[in-house]
Amino acid sequence: MNIFIREMRDHLKGLIIWSVVVLAFMVMVFMEFQAYYNNPEMGEILDTMPKGMLEAFGMYGANLTTINGYMSIVALYLYIMLGIFAVLLGNNIIGKEERDKTGEFLMSMPIKRYRVLISKVGAAVLNCLLLTVVSGIGIAIAIYQYNPERENIEYIFQILTAAFFIQMIFLSLGLFIAASTRVFKKSSALSVALVVITYILSVIQSLSESVDFLKYVTPFKYYQASDILQNKGFQSIYLGLTAMIVVIATFGVFYVYPRRDLNL
């Protein structure tokens, strides 16, 4: 429990900075929404566009004049921000002991390594959850003036759940990378590569039919906001994939870390 509290305190500053950034982003983004909200002219323009074209620009099913439509475009950027937060957090929370040479102190305590890990993972998950909640609050503040209805709130709730799942994927991968590499510099470089590459893959996936399989590779495609809007929920295959990645990576962390040499 002590380690858990310590970790929460240690990461508080980062969490606050990220929260401010996410809140500011939401407010700025919904300032632009004023131009679209219930503006029938904009709606008409969208109606006259052919389906194929909207699809090509990733705007199909995204009616920018409604809260849900606008939200479905915001969602991807929310995923990216929270995903980056999670992978860095996962990588840091384990790697920092070796980077700052504090591992020597921590590991000489009469606590088993897996107990240390449990506290760290718990703290990391709680941090992710808190940031998701803060994003939710940010969105709530931003859309309050547009009188959201029940379906809006449900949809936003789904997006936030999806964002949390994506955070869990990246968190577990970040933890695993840090647990299995000896040098912090290397593990942080790998974490960055992971986010950038999965993001670029998600862009490439939308370019051509021939690389459609990439939608199973990059987590950013698992919970596409437009899919959630159309299907009123998540697809079970992606839920399965998420569970699989999280379980395997977490298992890997608990298997590898207690057994390896610490680089102190």
């Binding site: 982003f25 632009e32 131009a35 969208l46 194929g52 475009i73 860095l88 960055v192 950038v196 021939s210």
Partner: protein
Amino acid sequence: MNIFKFELRTYCKSFFLWSLGIVALQIIMMLFYPTMAQDAQIMDLILENYPEELLQAMGLGEQVSLATVLGYYTFVFVFVQLIIGVQSAYYGFQFLSIEEREHTADFLFAKPVTRRRILVEKYLAALSILVLTSFVVSGSTFLSIELFRDGRGYENGPLIMLLLSVPLFQLFFFSIGMVITVSTKRIRGVISYALGFGFGLYVLNAFRSIVGGDLLGIVTPYYHFEPAYILMEGSIPMERAYVSIIIIIITHVVTYFAYLKRNIRSQ
């Protein structure tokens, strides 16, 4: 001169890996150009039927046709910018903070070299790596376009203009990293900051390009050096770029004076 040489050597591996990433990205993205060009031609025909104002309102006015080489390359280059943005910010955060983080400051600052000289040599080494990276970007730009242009022609002028904007773009991120380093006590996770800045400003601009509006673009160099604008107009949008240039100048001055007076922490 010794510090400069030493620094250059330490960059070697990281420079090689980043370059590899940039070249691979450009080639992979251009790989899709031939098939995209055919699809895009059909779309261009549809788009032609829509009045200009209407497209502008949709935020599509700035969109270049994806069927042309430069049009498609606009799209590719945004991601190249993303990578060099993160890289430059990384070097900016790294090159001054590393001595304190790895406790090598004690050693370095005990040498009979002025602090100004250390700063300048370290700075020049990092700068050389950024310039080399921009050469790599230029080389792989022409390489990937020549490989996959499929017989379609393109103009050289705007492309060269775009590549000339790269050093300024890099300097923006680099100097932001620098100034944050000298104004904080200690930087722990360099890569978190670099990724936060590189990606954060990118997200802002990506969102701006969908919903329109200049407000979101003011602070982000991805908008100051927007590939779509440069490739279409053949020039850098100076009124936006000035924001970047002013920030670069201010941060350089601040860094110089702050670092000379800095309380270097040892242990």
